[in-house]
């Protein structure tokens, strides 16, 4: 059975992977805030 290997290169690329996931989430949260802002400035 293939075992996980915790070498430095894998760790580094995984860290970039986790960071990019969090990055997407930050972008989406900003998009949600922008949506709230747009709706708040339109005089309904």
């Amino acid at each position: 059975m293939k075992r996980f290997n915790f070498n430095r290169a894998t760790f580094k690329s995984d860290a970039v992977g986790y960071a990019s996931e969090i990055g997407w989430m930050v972008l989406y949260t900003i998009a949600l805030f922008l949506l709230s802002w747009i709706i708040s400035v339109i005089p309904w």
């Binding site: 293939k2 690329s13 989430m25 805030f33 949506l35 709230s36 709706i39 708040s40």
Partner: protein
């Protein structure tokens, strides 16, 4: 010499169910240790009693099934499904023992309700005086929701049971179906590794946020840990009665939103992005479905509430409306308004938007509930494919595809399975709504609560309370259970039980 027992099915089911029970029982050591650390000696005793009872039952089941497994251990799909659903059901009672001994529950039914709500990552609770419960019990509540989100069977397959032929059947039985690597043990371990890495990142971030908003270091750590566990597992429990409103903090809400959206994502997608497919986030059908439903739901509710003049500035709209819609869509259930505000202030359009996103839910093979974005995406895509077929030349044959980690063929079997599960969810939702209406709750309130329970969300409009009729509590327990295990496993359990009864009646 080992004697072979007569009923192999019973033996196999007993063996693996026992194994999962033993594994889960051992986790009681953690809250017991936490309580010892904070000198809550009565609580330590509660957990030791519970550990003793559940460990004993687990061992008896393992010993009962051991011979069959050794001699007749061929695993069938029904075994996998029944073990998953049976272990969840038995554990519901065993994990409720510390709740009962704490004195914070009014009855055994209430305690099992809270455990099932934790396991299924729903987040509604009947526990009394939440603000004054012990640290041990609070840790236990959040651990249940964290482990339940990943899955008890996933846990057992990762750490307890050896790699074996047919283990995949257990894994699918618990409502997860994505093989991240060719072997099941590897897949389940990856699920746990991703969760543990995020547990570290999330708890640290919330701990720092807690310190910045003025919590003392111990509280900041505990609240960070609890809120992460509840957010990541899309559970929605919180260590305080007021849920996330307790913190009165924009930053705490923003950090939470990041982690509960992450928690609602498919583990297959996590794995793909972590392993370098960064743009998968935009191409994936589940994410597209989630983006469409959450943005549309947020826009509808925000327009309705901005128009009513209740929340006029962008920060209020984001914190009170968008937060709740996304919390509902990811089936988390953290709430930034009080239960009655939904009814008294949100109005019909806001309520409808939140009810619909609750039903749709998060991603398949994640910790979230609901129909799941994948299924909605597949059915919508199939609808458009059918329309295209109608409008183009009849001789043209086009293979329709959808993108989920890789391009997949949109065949009839996939569409049928998705539609069946959506139909079953809707049936369960209708049943819960009707039951609420039967007991005299307004239909709109009943619909909201039914969507929340069926989709494993946990936002409440005030119906879920210890005073509600027992029939509703029992229906809600089954709705949470069926919703999380996605029907098939529970039906398999009922089928096997019916078969057993039939055989027994024939013999008698």
């Amino acid at each position: 010499m080992v004697k072979e027992i007569k009923h192999p099915t019973l033996g196999i089911i007993s063996y693996y169910t026992g194994y999962i029970i033993v594994g889960m029982s051992l986790f009681m050591i953690l809250p017991a240790s936490a309580s010892a650390l904070f000198r809550e000696w009565n609580v330590v005793l509660d957990f030791l009693i519970s550990l003793f009872i559940s460990l004993s039952l687990g061992m008896v089941l393992v010993l009962f099934g051991r011979n069959t497994r050794l001699h007749n251990g061929r695993l069938m799909w029904k075994h996998g499904f029944v073990v998953a659903s049976l272990s969840w059901f038995v554990l519901m009672f065993l994990c409720a023992i510390p709740y009962l001994l704490s004195g914070h529950m009014n009855s055994l039914l209430d305690a099992t309700f809270d455990v099932m709500s934790g396991f299924t990552t729903t987040g509604v609770f009947l526990l009394q005086d939440l603000d004054h419960i012990s640290i041990g019990l609070n840790l236990w509540r959040h651990m249940l929701t964290f482990i339940g989100g990943q899955g008890m069977v996933v846990l057992a397959l990762s750490f307890l049971v050896r790699e074996m032929a047919g283990a995949y059947k257990f894994y699918v039985g618990e409502g997860k179906d994505v093989a991240l690597v060719p072997n099941v043990r590897g897949t389940t371990q990856i699920i746990w590794i991703i969760s543990m890495v995020y547990l570290f990142i999330g708890t640290s971030t919330l701990f720092i946020t807690g310190l910045l908003i003025g919590l003392n270091p111990t509280n900041a750590f505990l609240h960070g840990l609890f809120m992460f566990m509840a957010g990541w597992s899309t559970g929605g429990f919180a260590p305080n009665q007021q849920n996330i409103m307790f913190y009165h903090s924009f930053s705490f809400e923003v950090v939470s939103i990041l982690f509960f959206i992450l928690g609602s994502m498919n583990f297959g997608l996590h794995y793909a992005i972590i392993k370098g497919k960064k743009m998968e986030f935009l191409k994936n059908i589940e994410i597209q479905s989630f983006l469409i439903t959450s943005l549309t739901g947020s826009a509808i509710a925000a327009v309705a509430l901005a128009k009513s003049g209740l929340y006029s500035d962008s920060v209020a709209l984001f914190r009170r409306v968008v937060f709740n819609i996304v919390s509902a869509n990811t089936t988390t259930g953290f709430g930034t308004v009080f239960a009655r505000q939904f009814i008294l202030e949100w109005g019909p359009l806001g309520m409808l938007a939140i009810t619909l996103v609750m039903l749709v839910g998060g991603s398949a093979c994640s910790t979230a509930g609901g129909f799941k974005g994948l299924r909605v995406g597949i059915v919508v895509k199939a609808f458009f494919a059918d329309m295209r077929k109608l409008l183009t030349s009849e001789r043209r044959v086009k293979i329709e595809k959808y993108h989920h980690i890789k391009d997949m063929v949109l065949d009839d079997a996939v569409v049928r399975t998705s539609s069946t599960i959506i139909f079953l969810y809707l049936l369960m939702f209708t049943g819960a709504t009707m039951l609420g209406a039967y007991f005299g709750y307004p239909v709109v309130d009943s619909m909201f609560e039914a969507a929340s329970i069926s989709g494993n969300v946990g936002l409440s409009i005030g119906i879920t309370a210890t005073t509600m009729p027992s029939a509703m509590k029992i229906y809600y327990i089954f709705a949470m259970y069926l919703g999380r295990l996605e029907f098939l496993s529970v039906f398999a359990l009922i089928g096997v039980m019916a078969q057993g009864v039939k055989t027994w009646l024939k013999r008698a």
